[in-house]
């Protein structure tokens, strides 16, 4: 049943905006198919890199900017558990004790959702029409899993994709070693962790790796490719929206003119 109000502001995330616009268009399609009106106000970043680096002043400034930009929408939807978690869990924390901003941040957090769980939990989407030929495995990003409660929802929707077989990934709930700036601050440790993840992914025998966060996907894709493993790595929204016909993450484009 569609909700009475469904004007959605898409917080596209800086990674999707810069690196993989198709995830943004997939999110728009899924939301529009479910009856939402989607708008994309001009935006930059939720501020998580500053927040996790201890730069609270910058984190606050960016949080205020995001709240001011998006708070007129009925819902704010994010194709990422990590940025979603930043808004939903950490914005209220960031404004703790501020009589003006804290209530605003709380109200804002309450209407901000990770894309897939928004589709299932709020819009009641239980089935989508999409085809994908292949065997996919799914990695649970830490923030999606632990901050946004996303675990069964993407698997349930993927089960309805025609032609797709889901192979469970052992230790799917263990971090891939990305951790934002962690991966460049402690590259050797990050490498050891993502190597374990990439080999576990390869061992499933799947031809496709899916997840709901572009940071993790870029990290695991990069390691799979460096290890010579040939899997297509995609955001789960691409498959659910039927927009998985272009090159996967880190794969070359077929020859054609620049967009």
């Amino acid at each position: 049943m569609p909700p009475p109000k469904n004007r959605v502001g898409l917080l596209v995330t800086c990674l999707v905006d810069l690196m993989r616009p198709v995830v943004g268009f997939a999110a728009v399609k899924l939301l529009e198919d479910a009856g939402c009106t989607v708008e994309v106000p001009r935006q930059s970043c939720c501020g998580q890199p500053a927040f996790n680096s201890g730069d609270r002043a910058t984190a606050r400034a960016l949080a205020e900017q995001v709240i001011a930009t998006f708070e007129s929408y009925d819902y704010v939807v994010v194709p990422s558990g990590s940025c979603g978690g930043q808004v939903r869990v950490h914005y209220p924390e960031l404004f703790h004790g501020d009589p003006n901003w804290h209530p605003r941040a709380e109200r804002f957090a309450a209407k901000t959702y990770e894309l897939i769980s928004f589709l299932t939990n709020v819009l009641g989407v239980s089935n989508i029409t999409a085809r994908y030929a292949g065997t996919a495995t799914y990695h649970d990003s830490c923030s999606s899993l632990r901050e946004m409660g996303v675990q069964a929802q993407p698997r349930r929707l993927l089960a309805g994709v025609e032609g797709l077989t889901l192979a469970e990934l052992p230790d799917a709930d263990v971090c891939c070693g990305f951790g934002g700036t962690f991966c460049v601050k402690y590259p050797e440790i990050s490498n050891a962790i993502v190597n374990k993840k990439a080999e576990a992914v390869a061992a499933t025998g799947a031809d496709t790796l899916l997840a709901g966060d572009l940071g993790c996907l870029m990290n695991i894709a990069g390691k799979l490719q460096r290890n010579g493993r040939h899997l297509a790595v995609r955001h789960v929204a691409e498959v659910l929206a039927g927009m998985a016909d272009g090159p996967a993450i880190g794969e070359p484009e077929p020859k054609r003119a620049a967009p």
Binding site: S44, N52, V184, K185, Q225
Partner: protein, 470 residues
């Protein structure tokens, strides 16, 4: 044993290159799976975690009262309580007690506080022979190492290393003895330690809990070494820190129900040993003197502050068992006594964030530690709080600060940000579209040394969106 936390990066690289350590880490002890099963077997496990958290929080909020009550009970039972503000004071108090007992050898049950104050080295400098009686602690003692895990101190070692160490140290035993099996190694350790138990003048144990209601100290072990350490010598010293206080025995029983399950997946540790005061006239055994040395070492200044929640920690080790970083580099890389997520929060508080700053930074904030902590300590939140302290004090590396400043300049100006990212994505796309990815990027060496970096798809999402929709 020196502090090497400031060289965490170097330690981590060495650990990752240590094939034997990597084998030991990947083998592990199965704690993760066992904890999961133990939690599943107990329907009230989650509510017990809440109760455990509340007991510890309550105690910390009224710690002065419980300390007073505890001291009164210890004194009434014939014991003596010594309050040590610093590590140095604690060492001095312990040494004075040992000297007045004319002690030459001291047996020790497992105590992390002794590690924290560097007691073994101090004893040796002062002519007293300390003997660790926990098998893991004994192993690291004869290797002159620090524990690499708070409940499995020798988890980084394999059987062959133990055999070599035993042959090196136990020179009084026949050279041709067979030490092929874990059981024979264990039997040898048991034999060696048994003599030490009987010869010791003073026994030192840590405490998992100090009970204000009764003046009792409680330790849990799986080897029973705590019992022998505290009942055989004529002097028993309990060495513990202030946050081990709990109000009642009933509270202890709640905490015990989450402790072993979180640690090893056992319902209970094999031995739970309670001691209250020295031997009474009609007791069959026990020490004639009973001392409790309570260490503060900066903890009381954490009460009521941003890092107070770490004082709830009951030292189960679940956070490190579940930590991908700990599992990658092991405990020694952390460079001091407390490794893993709880160490990443506690260590900077005890040694200073200027020395321990790497530890709270070496985290992806994946949140597994907080998810399993039996007393629900918000470990990632406090690691972030340390990063904030570093940032305020300009301890954050200049490259990180500079990078953040540059990025923030654009991020705070969305229109300019749009132009800059449009340009960046275009350039990366132009250079990367051939192969779809980069094997090397000059500004992202940390990334591309180990993995490929994908090329962007062309124009940014926002640029494409505005073109399409307007």
């Amino acid at each position: 044993m020196t502090l090497t936390s400031p060289q965490f990066k170097y330690n981590a690289r060495a650990a990752l290159a240590d094939a034997q350590l990597q084998r030991a880490l990947s083998k592990g002890l199965g704690f993760v799976e066992r904890r999961r099963l133990a939690a599943e077997r107990l329907p009230e496990f989650e509510s017990l975690r809440d109760a455990a958290r509340d007991i510890k929080s309550h105690t910390l909020a009224h710690l002065d009262l419980y300390l007073e009550a505890y001291e009164a009970r210890v004194t009434a039972a014939g014991g003596k309580l010594h309050y040590a503000v610093t590590a140095k004071e604690a060492r001095t108090v312990v040494l004075d007690i040992c000297r007045s007992a004319s002690a030459r050898t001291v047996t020790k049950g497992k105590t992390m506080i002794a590690e924290e104050i560097g007691l073994n080295d101090f004893f040796e400098q002062n002519g007293i022979q300390p003997v660790e009686t926990d098998l893991g602690e004994y192993l690291i003692q004869i290797r002159h190492e620090m524990p690499s895990h708070i409940i499995a101190p020798a988890i980084h070692l394999n059987k062959d290393q133990v055999e070599a160490d035993f042959r090196r140290v136990h020179t009084h035993l026949p050279k041709d003895r067979n030490l092929d099996e874990p059981a024979t190694l264990l039997a040898e350790a048991r034999g060696v330690l048994r003599e030490r138990f009987l010869a010791a003048d003073v026994g030192i144990t840590g405490a998992n809990f100090l009970v204000a209601e009764t003046g009792t100290s409680i330790i849990v072990t799986n080897e029973g070494n705590g019992d022998l350490t505290q009942t055989l010598p004529k002097v028993h010293i309990v060495l513990a820190s202030i946050e081990k206080l709990v109000p009642t025995l009933e509270d202890v029983s709640t905490l015990l129900r989450v402790l072993a399950r979180s640690a090893t997946g056992q319902d209970m540790s094999v031995y739970t040993t309670l001691s209250t005061g020295p031997r009474r006239p009609d007791d069959p055994d026990g020490p004639s003197e009973y001392h409790v040395v309570i260490l503060d070492n900066g903890r009381s200044s954490m009460l009521g502050g941003e890092f107070a929640d770490i004082l709830r920690c009951i030292r189960c080790g679940a956070c490190m068992n579940y930590c991908p970083v700990f599992n990658a580099v092991g405990g020694h890389a952390y460079g001091w006594v407390y490794p893993g997520p709880m160490g990443a929060v506690l260590t900077p508080a005890l040694i200073g964030v200027d020395k321990g700053g790497h530890l709270p930074n070496a985290s992806m904030f994946c949140g597994r530690c907080e998810e399993v902590c039996p007393v629900r300590i918000p470990l990632p939140r406090m690691m972030r709080a340390w990063r904030e302290r570093e940032f305020e004090r300009h301890l954050t590396p200049a490259a990180v600060r500079g990078g953040l400043k540059f990025w923030a300049f654009f991020a705070k100006r969305p229109a300019l940000y749009g132009l800059a990212t449009a340009l960046a994505s275009r350039v990366l796309w132009l250079f990367g579209r051939g192969s779809g990815r980069f094997r090397r990027l000059p500004f992202a060496i940390g990334w591309t040394r180990h993995r490929d970096f994908p090329a962007p798809q062309g124009a940014t999402f926002q640029a494409q969106w505005r073109r399409r929709r307007r």
